[in-house]
Symmetry: C2
Subunit: 230 residues, 2 copies
């Protein structure tokens, strides 16, 4: 049932004490391809870090290039200021695929695909690498958008803090399929099944100040979230 069973010749990450799936290990995956696919379909990551023992979990956008996840923001942000000092982070991306309705309250569950990454983020200093990371944010959210828009100025690039997190110590966790009820409960006259869920794009809303003669780009017209992995 798992995605990884359909894959061959993909590289698997090293399993460490941090990224090892301990609860329900049959749901754990360490294949790079699976991890990249989940990261590419997600839009927001939840970035966790700890300052003097106080945990913070901040939702933020991200991009991916090869084996690095990039995040960015204002140099004034509390989050990025903390991360600059080279502290450990945990970044989690979760895609919700369905609600699993069992015959018993106890066995209700959700279908999901999640990735958890452990590591230390480092500041991207090289100008060209920073531009590439900024490109990855835009392309991640709306593929082909980068070429359509006004490119960042030198000042905008210098005024943005970009951090890179290696995808070395990561794992994916996936639940798919039907509810799993206690055997005796299958006799009960109770409906059971799955309600699929997906993040769906609605009809685009043109900006109020947009002149009427500006055509809708392909990137917006055919926008869908379920993406092919890069």
């Amino acid at each position: 049932m798992s995605t990884s069973e359909h894959l061959a010749n993909t590289e698997s990450l090293m399993i460490t004490s941090r990224n090892q799936i301990k609860r329900l290990p049959q749901r754990g995956k360490y294949d790079q391809h699976v991890i990249h696919q989940i990261l590419d379909e997600g839009l927001v990551c939840h970035l966790g870090f700890s300052v003097n023992g106080q945990p913070f979990v901040i939702p933020t956008a991200y991009g991916r290039i090869d084996d690095f996840l990039y995040i960015h923001g204002s140099p004034a942000s509390r989050m990025l200021q903390s991360l600059q000092s080279g502290i450990e982070v945990c970044v989690t991306v979760t895609l919700l695929d369905g609600l699993v309705l069992a015959r018993s309250a106890f066995h209700h569950s959700m279908n999901y695909r999640s990735v958890v990454i452990f590591g230390t983020a480092t500041i991207v200093q090289a100008f060209e690498q920073k531009v590439e990371a900024l490109r990855s944010f835009t392309e991640h959210v709306v593929p082909k958008r980068w070429a359509e828009v006004r490119q960042p100025t030198r000042q905008e690039i210098l005024g943005t803090l970009v951090l890179a997190l290696p995808l070395a110590e990561a794992s994916a966790k996936i639940r798919t399929g039907a509810p799993l009820d206690d055997e005796a409960d299958y006799e009960l006259p109770i409906w059971a099944g799955v309600i699929p869920l997906s993040l769906t794009a609605g009809t685009f809303i043109p900006d109020a100040r947009l002149p009427a003669d500006i055509p809708l780009p392909d990137s917006v017209q055919n926008y869908t979230r379920a993406q092919e992995s890069k």
Copy 2:
């Protein structure tokens, strides 16, 4: 533009050094009603905690009753074992409402509603309170489902660890509306606007072992995620 502007007479939470919105404070909200609404619409929270300086961010289901958020799981889970010891947590729920496409790469953004909660989770020991919390998990995911299903046994209840987190130190952050471009960029012949996003329920999938004569309950037939706040 903000939700809170339409509200009157709602209680506001205390602003502390932890829950105060520092970046873009105009997006920060402390109204209980706004916080509850976001929590009630969300399905998964990202729970952050730190063990010996190592942060963990775990996606998990939750329920809400009044001013408490409940999470649950197996007593064997690493997460719940850590939390039992009364450590500080940070719980974040994020709803993604749209992609904000500006004329410049730099001003691309997302519309979202998020809640961040700080506090210490405590174990729910009282049997009846535990049942109420379990009820809140099921009702949170699929309203009216609890009454349709096989109720938890005494053993299932005792075998589930339930933790309560007070919603005392929390804040919401909301972005809505159109892109905000640099004034000069409004002249550029570049499409700008918003692509709305929503978590959408697809057609339900009956369990393969479901007898044909079991009717589809209302809770499933008319399922939608955008809920009225309790």
